[in-house]
Symmetry: none
Subunit: 449 residues, 2 copies
């Protein structure tokens, strides 16, 4: 079972946008044991798209196409596919209705040009798009080796080698990553799984935040040896160091059993440094802990909420705490006190303290947390004050210096961090570190670093 | 003059690493007028690499290969190239000396396995690597259309169409981005320029927020016709609809002149809907307008600041307003009033109003903005209250319903929006729409939608 991944778009071929869809699709396919033959990126040119599709059919079971099904004239994937299939495009009434509904809900009339997004080659299946206006397409075609196709174009007769699986499945998905991912997981992946049968590759990803990649690798030691099956590798994204465990075995049962065993070994090595797995974000995990604590408190007729007082992160921590639906249970309000006067007025940080120690100091961040907790009556208050840069650094407090405090019934803990990277990275890491301090507070455990 | 870009590596095909080399190479090639036919990514498999090279020769003047020339067993590009060229690999003494020097300078003996990095197919040229141990390769081969190659493999005679340029240049470069870039700029680009004399492609991107892709396309009308040069295409990312203008002309001067003209025509069609170009974000553009207004106010000994009162966006708008360095000039504080009691206590929203109209209403969002402005003395206050979902929707106020208000000296404007997508998208669009309302307020112009 193998696949070719074809991405379509001038912006990709011109290098103006980096193709991230293909890498994501590869990961998904590898996880179900589907081999990836190659990635191919072609421009919004009907002839080039047709050639790419024709050449791919020769050598793969699945052709996954993303991009070129928008409503504008430069979107030509459906036309190219129809040509290769030698079928006319037909209006799919079901999707046309969905389009009308989509625009009606927004109080607008559907622009005439969007109608093309409901056109599907005759005989192909429409795939629902739950996140946008472009319907996907699923079609099948006899796999014809390229030499035969070329011969056929020249009027020669095509012959099949024996034992040659003659069907290639095409899936056309939107280029917008979010829409593509939703469509792939809902409607494409099940088809591929169904065809599977060979070796099963199961994966699990375990996420950590707080230590660097090499420090995590040191803790894992021998578990990361290259020749292991299941294998363990690390990746880093936005400060989160993730362990990817891949188990490749003939049967699903065996793969799952080995995967669980290896994941347990990783958990034993890293302990609570691992905050979650697979699609779980740090935000979600903390939200779940907060909802749980809130429910426990409510059962005792008590309240449990958290509040925020942010300087350099400017609201990012509050936004992360409210990322998850249901956050109103534990989050009622937060303060963005960017200026010193705001820290003074809204959080009662003393002017002398600001003058004596500066806004980025243990004293001020502690005072911010205490002030926010008193002002709101929340059980826990988190405060952040730091230098996100690129300007404002000094030798004693370089760019990246961030103080974070957590105030609760049990007292106040404040810590100084030095984060690397640009302004955006420093703000992101600061908010995530505050969430991590909150997480260990809720777990009632000391931070492991 | 055209090129195919071939990247080699298991980690790319498995999606563990995103291929950024190909996008960079595309930008470089486009800038000298070399058309890019496609990007191709194949695994570290000698057969697959050979096939990719053979198929590419058929259709391009330049084949740029990156990756697979390291010292380890899974690096097979040079072997594959030698097979396609039907030449043996020979030791390049000059590069072997360089390798010895490289290791000596580091006080180490050259490991035996690195010797392979000095092996070059007979008849090909070695390219110096100024940043690493893998020598590059430059080779030429008669371009053979694929049908002829396949026929030749089957013992049939190949024929050339007349007027067919029979030479394809191959360049093999390291996969490490730093080494690849240095080698390309020093030793590959000059060859391509020399062959060129061809066209120059210049690009510009114009960004809009507020209207959908098809509505923008309708406003552009004929400017988006496929046969235009410069051409105009649209892409969407996180609610931002961008216009990509590409001008392809024989000289740089002509290309720049035509590009400017077409960009002006787009600006004429879309007006202030365009908020910025190329690397500019909405956040940056609004920050610049705010800094400008703040400076003007300061010159008159006045103050100009903006504050925020956020419900469903939970701090995201404040975080966007403080994205840019220097934001302390215009942003001092913001309120995250997620719960009704917080709206009441921090912003003085009347309890009866909350009960009568609900938190997501014109009345409440207006009261939030007024309250925030009065509380802080800021000149402008933005307030957001909406239903980010996935729960909480009703038939009258479905998920995605968001009220945004802007309060200033001039009065209060409030608008209702209905955003599509999931919780994360609705929150992101809400904050961006608030920034957009602020932008038009600062421009002293009505919103164009």
């Amino acid at each position: 079972m193998n696949a070719i991944i074809l991405a379509i778009g001038d912006e990709l071929v011109l290098g103006q946008t980096i193709d991230t869809n293909s890498a994501w699709l590869s990961q998904q396919l590898a996880a179900v044991g589907c081999e990836i033959r190659c990635h191919l990126v072609v421009p919004d040119d009907q002839q080039e798209i047709q050639t790419a599709i024709r050449e791919s059919i020769a050598t793969c079971d699945f052709l996954l196409i993303s991009g070129g099904i928008g409503p504008t004239e430069d979107d030509l994937t459906r036309q190219a596919l129809a040509k290769v299939l030698k079928q006319p495009l037909q209006l799919n009434e079901l999707w046309l209705q969905e389009l009308h509904k989509f625009f009606e809900a927004r109080g607008r009339k559907m622009p005439e040009m969007n109608k093309i997004q409901a056109m599907i080659p005759r005989g192909a299946e429409m795939i629902f798009n739950h996140a946008g206006t472009a319907a996907g397409i699923h079609a099948k075609l006899r796999r014809l080796p390229l030499i035969h196709q070329l011969s056929a174009e020249r009027g020669l007769e095509a012959t099949y080698e024996s034992g040659y699986d003659p069907i290639c499945h095409f899936f056309v998905m939107p280029g917008v990553p979010k829409e593509m991912k939703a469509m792939f997981l809902c409607d494409v992946l099940p088809h591929i799984r169904e065809q599977g049968g060979g070796a099963v590759i199961l994966s699990r990803t375990l996420h950590t935040f707080g230590l660097g990649e090499s420090a995590v690798a040191e803790l894992l030691g021998d578990l990361m040896r290259r020749d292991k099956n299941p294998s363990v590798g690390t990746t880093v994204a936005r400060g989160v160091v993730s362990l990817r465990v891949n188990a490749r075995f003939p049967s699903r049962e065996k793969a799952l059993q080995e995967l669980n065993q290896m994941a347990d070994a990783c958990r034993a090595a890293l302990g609570d440094l691992i905050y979650g797995e697979d699609e779980q974000s740090l935000q979600q995990v903390v939200a779940e802990l907060l909802i749980q604590r809130n429910t426990e408190a409510a059962n005792q007729n008590k309240s449990f909420t958290v509040t925020t007082a942010e300087s350099c992160t400017g609201g990012l921590l509050a936004a992360m705490l409210t990322d998850t639906s249901g956050s109103s249970a534990y989050f009622r309000q937060g303060f963005v006190t960017y200026a010193n006067e705001a820290k003074r007025e809204l959080l009662a940080v003393p002017q002398e303290m600001l003058e004596q120690h500066g806004a980025v100091s243990e004293q001020v961040v502690t005072s911010m947390a205490t002030g926010a907790r008193q002002r709101t009556g929340a059980q826990v208050a988190l405060a952040i004050s730091g230098i996100a840069g690129p300007t404002g650094g000094t030798p004693e407090k370089p760019v990246g210096t961030v103080w974070i405090a957590l105030a609760s019934e049990a007292g106040i803990a404040a810590r100084r961090f030095l984060f690397a990277g640009d302004r955006e990275m420093i703000r992101d890491r600061s908010a995530k570190m505050a969430l991590t301090m909150l997480r260990f507070h809720l777990l009632n455990k000391p931070m492991p670093f």
